[in-house]
């Protein structure tokens, strides 16, 4: 999506080396309206993106809310040590990775498969209708979806009703109250919500595969499945790779919004993920420094994962984000 960010948009500098500063000042003045417009955006980014970066130093301090960040005493790596000694840590890591890996293994290929099959529909009208319908859940909030799920999974809800009618279960189950169902609910509801939306980008890529290739393959006697496998799929390989890199780097992100809505005190042993842990310790229990340290560890690991995934993919198939 955001491949080749910076470089793509940069223009060569026109300023000559001699008298550069003067030329620059004159140029800045001549485009003063444009510069003000740009600087307003830069100012926003400095305030909302860069100033909080300074706040990260409270991870190395013992910050209390009544004092300023500068006044708080330094404590070195104490907050980081505390995290690695925390007895919740193994479970938090297990839940975070478990949910993310399931989403990656099941949730990543499905939109590709969906896009491949959608592309093979002969009726344009049906194709449009399926697309319109499949995008719709993307626009519902997780709060609404939490409400829908609660209705479905309730004791008198449709899931219990069907399973009891089929004699698979005898008693209604409170799914959201049992940790063992939590991961499944999270992964399934995420797929339900985002399947169609995630497929858009693959559909765009599929549309870019040359029809000549399909024609040639057909003449060679390739069937529909064979063309999907040998023509379309390789044709969108670079798109898949880039989205996969992004997915891997986001493996410690467990879709905070979603889990916050679905979790409760009964399913905590399966729903406590890093983001929830940061939120709980930081904003609910007011352990600001500790929570910031945990968040910082998370961002660093995510960055390292991004770099690793990027360089691996560069070596293997010459596609990379940067």
């Amino acid at each position: 999506m955001s491949a080749k960010l910076g470089a793509e948009f940069m223009q060569p500098d026109s300023a000559a080396p001699g008298g550069r500063r003067k030329t620059l000042l004159r140029k800045l003045w001549s485009q003063k309206y444009l510069q003000v417009m740009a600087l307003l955006g830069v100012a926003w980014m400095i305030i909302f993106n860069y100033i909080p970066m300074y706040g990260i130093i409270i991870a190395f301090k013992q910050y209390v809310i009544t004092h300023s960040i500068a006044e708080a005493p330094w404590v070195g790596l104490d907050n980081f040590k505390a995290f690695f000694e925390d007895e919740d840590l193994p479970l938090v890591i297990w839940n975070t990775l478990g949910i993310s890996l399931l989403k990656l293994i099941i949730g990543f290929p499905l939109p590709i498969l969906f896009a491949l099959f959608l592309n093979e529909l002969r009726s344009i009208r049906l194709k449009k209708a399926v697309q319109t319908i499949s995008y719709l859940p993307h626009f519902l909030s997780w709060v609404i979806l939490g409400g829908i799920l609660a209705t479905w999974l309730a004791d008198v809800g449709i899931i219990n009703h069907i399973l009891m009618a089929l004699h698979i279960i005898k008693e209604p189950i409170s799914y959201l109250a049992e940790p063992k169902y939590f991961w499944g609910i999270v992964v399934a509801s995420d797929i339900w919500k985002e399947l169609g939306w995630s497929a858009i980008i693959y559909l765009a890529a599929i549309a870019g595969v040359s029809p000549d290739l399909h024609e040639a393959a057909t003449i060679d006697g390739a069937g529909r499945f064979q063309r999907m496998w040998y023509v379309t799929l390789p044709g969108i390989k670079s798109t898949i790779t880039i989205l996969f890199i992004l997915a891997v780097s986001g493996i410690l992100n467990s879709n905070f919004d979603q889990i916050l809505v679905l979790r409760n005190s009964l399913n905590e042993s399966a729903s406590n993920v890093i983001d929830v842990y940061v939120y709980q310790t930081g904003l609910v229990n007011n352990r600001f420094s500790y929570s910031t340290a945990v968040g910082l560890i998370k961002s660093l690991i995510a960055l390292v994962l991004l770099l690793i995934a990027n360089s691996v993919s560069k070596k293997i198939n010459d596609t990379s984000l940067f």
Binding site: M1, S2, K4, L5, G6, Q11, S14, L24, L28, Q31, L34, Q35, M37, A38, L40, G41, I46, I47, F48, N49, Y50, I51, M53, Y54, G55, I56, I58, F117, E120, L126, V130, Q131, I133, Y135, L136, F139, S141, W142, V143, I144, G146, G147, I148, A150, T151, V156, G157, H161, L195, I200, A205, T218, R224, V261, G282, F288, S291, G295, K298, S299
Partner: protein, 295 residues
């Protein structure tokens, strides 16, 4: 000549199978929404028994009446409408304005500006430092917390920039000869020709504003300032119907339950998005393609 389009038996079977799968996907997508809808139109007490799948058993509008009479829900709805309208207009205008400046080929210091923005895509300071910033800016318990921190997005800026780069220079030059400055060129020339991408970003951001519950949950304590999604979160996720019950005026019919009001609130909250979305769909698909293929 070799006929490419002749369909074999395998092709026919494939197509039939494919259509079936797609219809199944559509059913699985739509049915949960339908299920909530029909249950919300059923009388509350009766709905508690379950078993309503296709059509209300005892049709009733009482839950909706209760929703529209509840001042708590209506205040939250008002906050949501206000933050969505104001937030979207400001986000689109401000982000597009910065994107236009960034996209101009002759902009001095362009490299520096774009580097500053690109870094923000990869580094995130985390929840607590951000919370402290919001506090220090006096945005806690302030309506502007919905608007100002959401006014700009570098990701959306990239989508705008990609679009603006395609606009022929001649348009701007003509305006310049007429004596217009860069800002008025942006307002009078660029905005009118950029409606597809503006509609796309407006839709995305509008949906974000409409659906966001997290901002209201952590930065707002004043109940009169909470948006409808936060309100719903408090009753759906924390399954405490206290707030809902206290928001209800006395003398509510006994046929209405906290569950049925919850469903009706969910429907009322979602309806505007579902209604607006088919009209905007053609824009956002186009706009998303611009952003994804080029980017």
């Amino acid at each position: 000549m070799f006929k490419l389009n002749r369909r074999t038996a395998g092709d026919v079977a494939f197509d039939a199978f494919n259509v079936l799968i797609m219809l199944a996907v559509c059913f699985v997508t739509l049915y949960p929404i339908w299920y909530v809808l029909v249950n919300s139109f059923n009388e509350g007490q009766d709905a508690m028994r379950g078993g309503i799948y296709w059509w209300p058993r005892i049709f009733s509008l009482e839950s909706y009446e209760a929703v529209f009479r509840s001042s708590g829900i209506m205040t939250a709805m008002g906050v949501t409408v206000a933050k969505t309208l104001l937030g979207t207009v400001l986000h689109v205008f401000f982000t597009a304005m910065v994107a236009y400046a960034f996209s101009r080929r002759d902009l001095a210091l362009q490299k520096v500006y774009i580097l500053i923005g690109t870094v923000t895509l990869f580094f995130n300071s985390g929840l607590i430092p951000y919370y402290l910033l919001i506090r220090d800016l006096h945005l806690l318990d302030n309506f502007l917390v919905y608007i100002i921190p959401a006014m700009f997005s570098f990701f959306d800026l990239i989508i705008f920039m990609t679009f603006f780069r395609e606009i022929p220079d001649g348009l701007e030059e003509a305006a310049k000869i007429d004596g217009a400055n860069d800002f008025s060129i942006f307002v009078r020339v660029i905005i009118p020709v950029s409606m597809p991408v503006i509609a796309t970003i407006a839709l995305f951001h509008g949906v974000y504003q409409w659906n966001d519950y997290f901002t209201g949950m952590i930065y707002i304590n004043n109940m009169d300032l909470q948006p409808i999604q936060t309100y719903l979160y408090r009753i759906v996720a924390q399954s405490s119907s206290n707030q809902m019950a206290s928001a209800m005026p006395g003398g509510i019919s006994k046929n209405v339950t906290s569950q049925s009001i919850k469903l009706a609130t969910m429907v009322v909250t979602t309806a505007p998005i579902v209604i607006a979305y088919p009209f905007l769909q053609r824009y956002f698909v186009k706009g998303l393609m611009i952003g994804s293929i080029k980017g």
